[in-house]
């Protein structure tokens, strides 16, 4: 039986985006928010309706699309992608609300954000490789325009770099797709049919060499996805976008697109290439720990909130990769959980840094001599300070916040397989506490100066959109059980295939 809730999560934002072309401001804003919220409500209903302790794909929607190439419209959710649905559902209405007062081309911006929301929902739920690739490829377009039109002075260069990195990545993924498609007879793109190590042992001939399909496809896909997620040192485009993109767009990138790319990577690893994962997990953890540590060290050197956010994102990606490579139920559940928590944490960080940048004129909190240029905001705007403090606490993994759950599970899960990396990750967490507290002191504490003198506290609208992020961080930190019960069966099933 087909459920249509997943399709509704795609249809509502797309209708909203189409309406942006015909409806005038201010009605268009309400339409954008309403359509994004409608999709989010569908996603939440979808997750609530899912059965716990069920490893199967649920809420399936399966229709033929291009019959001659066995491409189908196959959408479903399970433990691996359910949390991403929640993340996207929370994130996009918040982003649309945060751009409410956008002066230039608000309809275009909100329309593109809606397209991005639909494409990310699609990429998260698609169970057909071609369909997934389609949605994933589409998600690069709105980002290009959002950065290129609404970005800062160097927006064109940044947008171009984003597009080039994305296109290169997509080309690599597409090559892998073709390889996979032709390796099985009958040819298929269906993840369901390819699941469980069906590609294991398949080989193809290239210039006289016999190569393993799963290993080559795994490498191509990993390389392709690492160009979209910030992996050190391939993240050059990412830090540039962090400087040039509008706050909401960069938040969409690091809190929406990056977690989805990590999800795609984990699904490909566990579902498509369990054999390749078995031999590459140490590399994944190695890349993860490199990201975590270098991200942390680079974050220490930052003087601006945007770039700091970029490097925190880099670190968080490293932590998730550690969990993916742990091949341990606790670690993998942690990595899936952390995808949600990093998204929410980074979204919160990005939003409050956007608010600070809007009010003070820039996101720099230190000048070139590393002297403070902000300060004392806590006395001017206590609500901003409290909310920022809560978000920082979650990013550091303090108990009671979502970050704690993810961090604890990943560390526990990774230790039994990679003890040394866990010790190194401890060093990275210590660094995080240093740079986050330093940042907090320089912005919020101390005497008020010229730039922060007129700083006003959150408006009602700002409180309204920050609230879901902070509440989610607290709620999922204090009561993670339902979500973990949702993830666990799927993780156990996919891990059994690896073992």
């Amino acid at each position: 039986m087909n459920h249509h809730l997943i399709s509704l999560t795609l249809v509502f934002p797309l209708i909203g985006a189409l309406l942006q072309t015909v409806v005038q401001v201010p009605r268009s804003r309400w339409i954008a928010l309403a359509s994004s919220l409608a999709a989010s409500i569908c996603a939440v209903i979808l997750i609530v309706s899912m059965q716990n302790q069920n490893a199967d794909l649920q809420m399936t929607e399966l229709l033929p699309w291009v019959g001659s190439y066995a491409i189908s419209y196959d959408m479903a959710v399970d433990g691996l992608n359910a949390l991403l649905m929640i993340l996207i559902a929370i994130l996009f209405p918040v982003l649309i609300a945060s751009e409410w007062d956008q002066k230039v081309g608000v309809r275009g911006m909100q329309g593109l954000l809606l397209v991005l929301q639909a494409s990310l929902f699609g990429a998260a739920c698609a169970q057909d490789l071609f369909l997934q690739f389609f949605f994933w490829g589409v998600s690069a377009l709105p980002l290009y325009f959002l950065v290129g039109i609404w970005g800062g002075e160097g927006r064109e260069k940044a947008a171009f770099k984003t597009m080039v990195a994305g296109s290169l990545g997509d080309a690599l993924i597409f090559s892998a797709l073709i390889l996979i498609y032709y390796s099985l007879d009958p040819h298929t793109f269906s993840l369901r049919e390819l699941a469980g190590g069906k590609l294991a042992g398949k080989e193809f001939n290239f210039l006289g060499f016999e190569l393993s399909v799963s290993h080559v496809a795994f490498m191509l896909m990993s390389a392709g996805l690492s160009l979209r997620a910030p992996i050190w040192p391939l993240h050059g485009w990412f830090t540039e976008v962090s400087q040039e993109a509008p706050s909401s767009v960069f938040v969409a990138l690091c809190a929406g697109v990056v977690p989805v790319s990590l999800y795609l990577f984990s699904r490909y690893c566990y579902v498509l290439f369990p054999d390749a994962l078995g031999s590459a997990y140490k590399w994944i953890v190695g890349v993860g720990i490199l990201n975590l540590f270098v991200g942390g060290i680079c974050a220490m050197a930052q003087r601006g909130l945007r770039r700091l956010l970029a490097f925190i994102c880099l670190s968080e990606v490293g932590l998730v990769l550690m969990g993916i490579g742990s091949l341990n139920p606790v670690g993998v559940v942690g990595s899936v959980y952390q995808q949600l928590m990093m998204g929410l944490g980074l979204a919160g960080f990005g939003l409050f840094s956007g608010i600070i940048a809007d009010r003070t004129g820039s996101s720099w909190f230190m000048d070139e001599n590393r002297e403070r240029v902000l300060g004392g905001i806590v006395t001017r705007a206590p609500v901003v300070a409290v909310i920022s403090g809560l978000i920082v606490a979650s990013l550091m993994g303090f108990p009671g916040f979502g970050g704690f759950v993810g961090h604890a599970l990943i560390i526990i899960g990774s230790y039994s397989i990679h003890p040394l990396t866990v010790i190194i990750s401890g060093g990275a967490l210590v660094l995080a506490s240093y740079y986050l507290f330093t940042m907090y002191r320089l912005i919020f504490l101390g005497g008020v100066n010229e730039r922060s003198a007129g700083f006003e506290d959150l408006t009602l609208r700002e409180r309204a959109y920050m609230l879901p992020v902070v509440l989610s961080l607290l709620f999922f930190g204090l009561y993670p059980k339902p979500l973990i019960e949702l993830i666990r069966p799927t993780v156990l099933t996919v891990l059994s295939a690896v073992k």
């Binding site: 540039e240 006395t379 240093y434 059980k481």
Partner: protein, 647 residues
């Protein structure tokens, strides 16, 4: 094993109520002037009532431990379990009562700090920290303990940084938060490693731990990180950063919320997991580290010129001593030192702050000053183990046990002597202040109340603090015996009672006299001594340069970060990659051009060769005369004719 006999419901609810009331004060404190302190008072009273109700049930149930346990993140019966749980046993109930009383007593002296600009922040910090410590002592799992510790750190951060508009205060509060977070993260990492390698970590179940002897290395690593992370909260050497920094704000609050309560919040981990750590043979080594740290901290205190900094360092040294006592002597001595030294430091700080050394009216206030000075001396006595205070039993037990190994005994006695010396130096320095006081009766009373809480009869049931053999001075049953049922003192005390008590008296009296000789007279001899080597004394007073070195390390990491960033952004993406790409493109195009040229040339030659013969022929034709045309025409005609004739 966990046996759920019932939940410590009242305790749980009362902690939650105190926490919520603190949040309420934070949110609405300014709008309810003067009522914030009443709300925190009410919260603390509710906590006391909760303890009372649960204690009543506890007594009724014949000391049956009550447990509330719930799955939180990962199921209890699986590897890597992360669960929540609370339990009440005598020590938990006693410590929750103590922290409530201490916070209540400090609140009693609010007249001294109610004029703080951000008074509601101080109140919030006090409430949250008290709830945190209560939660920590009743935790069944390290995860719950971490929750309590985090709340305590938050409370300290709010209070230390209550004057957030001051640059120095901001720096101090951020430093406090960073240092404590680092400690917390290390302990958290240790707990995670233990959870990864062992069954569920339950704080009241050492048998569960002992039953699994596999993965010894992991257990070692985890336990070491857990102890180190916990010890960071006590701020001994080398974590003296905040203690040697200049500070602002009300000193007793800084001592209570910045040092005492974080130490109390992390100490349950050490006390509860003591059998486990001992089974790993970690404790003697950590005991030595703590003892050395205590000695170095005392020296840092001795070289301070600022009394406020000195008292903080003295407290930190005392807390280190209690960790060493735990390692060498056991939880009985450790708890005795922890309680005695902490209460003494808060009381001493409160008293010293209540003295006013400036103003015209101080002469008329000298009677109050006398009382305050008496409180300072009582506090010094309480902290340094004078007869009748809880610390006495801690020191005497430790000396008695240490006598078995003379080297340990000698070093302990040395550190004890230094500690007593610093404590009494603090008291003598206060006594020689020409001062009066405008402090209220409540402020003065609170200092005495705090000292009273550290009296030996409350904890040991004896007047002298178990100094006399066979305890003929026993008034009531010992509370400590309820806490630690396996520690029978009489069994080993009888053998070395005389030596131990002689040494105790000898060192104590010698140190007190020495402190008087050095600091209790008009000229401070210690200051004179230190003036002979100013650089070295400044180096020690600044915490042995650890803070400076840490700063340099952080600077180098920042530099490394900038280099890594430059490498990627400037070098790789803006220089190397474009250069590489342009180099590649240029070379490919050069090669292509060269091939194209070659091809064109060879094509030219081939074409030339190919067209040469027909061209010559055509040239001949072009340049030839008519007979050749005729010849070709005729030959062609003949050829055609011959062809058709054949057909």
């Amino acid at each position: 094993m966990i046996n759920q006999q019932g939940s410590p419901t009242f305790l749980l609810i009362s902690i939650a109520v105190l926490f919520l009331m603190s949040l309420f004060v934070a949110a609405l404190g300014k709008r309810l002037p003067g009522r914030g302190s009443w709300l925190i008072w009410a919260g603390i009273m509710i906590l006391l009532v909760g303890v009372g109700l649960d204690s009543g049930i506890f007594l009724k149930d014949h000391f049956e431990t009550r447990i509330w346990s719930a799955g939180w993140i990962w199921a209890r019966d699986e590897k890597g379990a992360i669960t929540l749980g609370m339990f009440q046993d005598p020590i938990a109930l006693a410590m929750v009562t103590l922290v409530s009383l201490v916070s209540g007593t400090v609140l009693l002296s609010q007249g001294a700090f109610s004029k703080e600009v951000y008074f509601e922040k101080v109140l919030t910090g006090l409430g949250i920290s008290t709830a945190g410590v209560a939660l920590a002592w009743t935790s069944l799992t390290p995860w719950m303990e971490f929750l309590g510790l985090s709340l305590t750190i938050l409370g300290g951060f709010l209070t230390i940084g209550s004057r957030w508009d001051s640059g120095m205060n901001a720096k101090l509060s951020a430093k406090f938060a960073t240092e404590r977070s680092v400690g917390f993260l290390l302990a958290f990492l240790g707990a995670c490693i233990l959870a990864a390698s062992r069954p569920a970590l339950i704080l009241n179940d050492p048998e569960l731990w002992m039953g699994h002897s596999d993965l010894v290395h992991s257990t070692w690593v985890g336990a070491i990180l857990l102890i180190v992370g916990t010890c960071v909260q006590l701020q001994p050497f080398p974590f003296l950063g905040l203690l040697v920094a200049q500070t602002e704000g009300y000193l007793p609050l800084r001592i209570l919320l910045g040092q005492v309560l974080p130490a109390w919040a992390c100490f349950p981990l050490l006390i509860r997991l003591e059998p486990q750590f001992r089974s790993l043979e970690l404790f003697p080594s950590f005991g030595w580290v703590a003892l050395t740290s205590s000695i170095l901290t005392v020296f840092a205190g001795l070289f301070q010129r600022d009394w406020d900094l000195m008292v903080g360092l003295w407290l930190s040294a005392g807390l280190s001593l209690s960790v060493a006592a735990l390692a060498f002597s056991g939880p009985y001595s450790a708890m005795a030192l922890l309680i005695g030294v902490s209460l003494s430091a808060i009381s001493m700080a409160g008293s010293a702050t209540a003295l006013d050394s400036e103003g015209a009216e101080i002469v008329s206030q000298q009677k109050k000053a006398l009382w305050i000075k008496a409180a300072v001396f009582l506090a010094a006595s309480a902290g340094t183990g004078l007869v009748g205070f809880v610390t006495t039993t801690g020191y005497v037990r430790w000396i008695t046990q240490a006598l078995a190994v003379p080297a340990t005994a000698a070093i302990f006695l040395f550190s004890f002597a230094l500690f007593v010396f610093l404590g009494w130096r603090l008291a003598w320095k206060v006594s020689f202040r020409r001062s009066g006081s405008k402090a209220s009766l409540a402020v003065i009373m609170s200092s005495f109340l705090l000292v009273a809480l550290s009296l030996a009869p409350i904890w040991t049931g004896t007047v002298t603090g178990e100094l006399i053999q066979d305890s003929p001075d026993r008034l009531i049953k010992s509370l400590f015996d309820q806490f630690f049922t396996t520690q029978s003192f009489e069994a080993y005390r009888s053998e070395s009672y005389f030596s131990a008590s002689s040494l105790y008296w000898g060192v104590l009296v010698f140190s007190v006299i020495l402190a008087y000789w050095v600091s209790g007279r008009k000229q401070d001899r210690w200051t004179q001594i230190t003036s002979f080597f100013p650089k070295a004394s400044q180096f020690i007073a600044r915490g042995y340069g650890v803070d400076y070195s840490t700063g340099r390390l952080m600077d180098s990491l920042e530099w490394l970060g900038r280099c890594a960033e430059k490498l990627v952004d400037v070098k790789i993406w803006s220089q190397w990659m474009p250069n590489l790409l342009s180099f590649a493109v240029k070379n490919v195009s050069d090669v292509t051009r060269a091939i194209d040229l070659k091809l064109t040339e060879s094509l030219d030659v081939s074409v030339k060769k190919l067209v040469d013969v027909p061209a010559k022929l055509l040239q001949l034709i072009q340049t030839g005369d008519l007979r050749w045309y005729l010849f070709f025409a005729l030959s062609s005609g003949f050829a055609l004719l011959a062809h058709f004739l054949k057909l």
